[in-house]
Amino acid sequence: AQRVTQPEKLLSVFKGAPVELKCNYSYSGSPELFWYVQYSRQRLQLLLRHISRESIKGFTADLNKGETSFHLKKPFAQEEDSAMYYCALPYSGGGADGLTFGKGTHLIIQP
């Protein structure tokens, strides 16, 4: 069965420090993965997706099929990065848009 695992419920780092939010997945076939973010009092929104291979707000994520991981990284954390981060992949057997989300990691950037 497909699954997304985000092992850290909470991650706290200091401003300027590197950030890595971990995401591991299990999926039959070639996966496409996403990172969604929810800032305080805002809606859940797409941060980046594997297929576009772009860097958004300084964040990057590399798909490692050998380790079945899609970790989110940023070299220098900023206070505005504090948010809830969810890793997701397509829901197997669902519609074209259906997603399976991990439980999320709450990132706190301390000043």
Binding site: L44, G93, G94, G95, A96, D97, L99, F101, K103
Partner: protein
């Protein structure tokens, strides 16, 4: 565009009752997906509707049903409510292209007592 809108914002129901939640997608979006988010968990996929037809369904009982109207708005219906149905219900709209970006609404907070 106000983005995806959902109503009501929150509501309280009693076990065994029925509830209807509503969602209006972004103008031009033909796909609506519904998710259930229990406290401390990520959103869990319930349904997707595209062009008024169900395109996909998650692992939810038949008590959960939905439909999409000609203007692409959608309703989620839950019958015979259980305490475990208490959650934030999110609606997301998209153009309906595979692996496309989903735009989420603010959610409806349902409490079942």
């Amino acid at each position: 565009d106000a983005g995806v809108t959902q109503s009501p914002t929150h509501l309280i129901k009693t076990r065994g009752q029925h509830v209807t939640l509503r969602c209006s997608p972004i103008s031009g979006h033909k796909s609506v997906s519904w998710y259930q988010q229990v406290l401390g968990q990520g959103p869990q996929f319930i349904f997707q509707y595209y062009e008024k037809e169900e395109r996909g369904r998650g692992n939810f009982p038949d008590r959960f049903s939905a439909r999409q109207f000609p203007n692409y708005s959608s309703e989620l219906n839950v019958n015979a409510l259980l305490l475990g149905d208490s959650a934030l219900y999110l609606c997301a709209s998209s153009l309906g292209q595979p692996l496309g970006e989903q735009y989420f609404g603010p959610g409806t907070r349902l409490t079942v007592t």
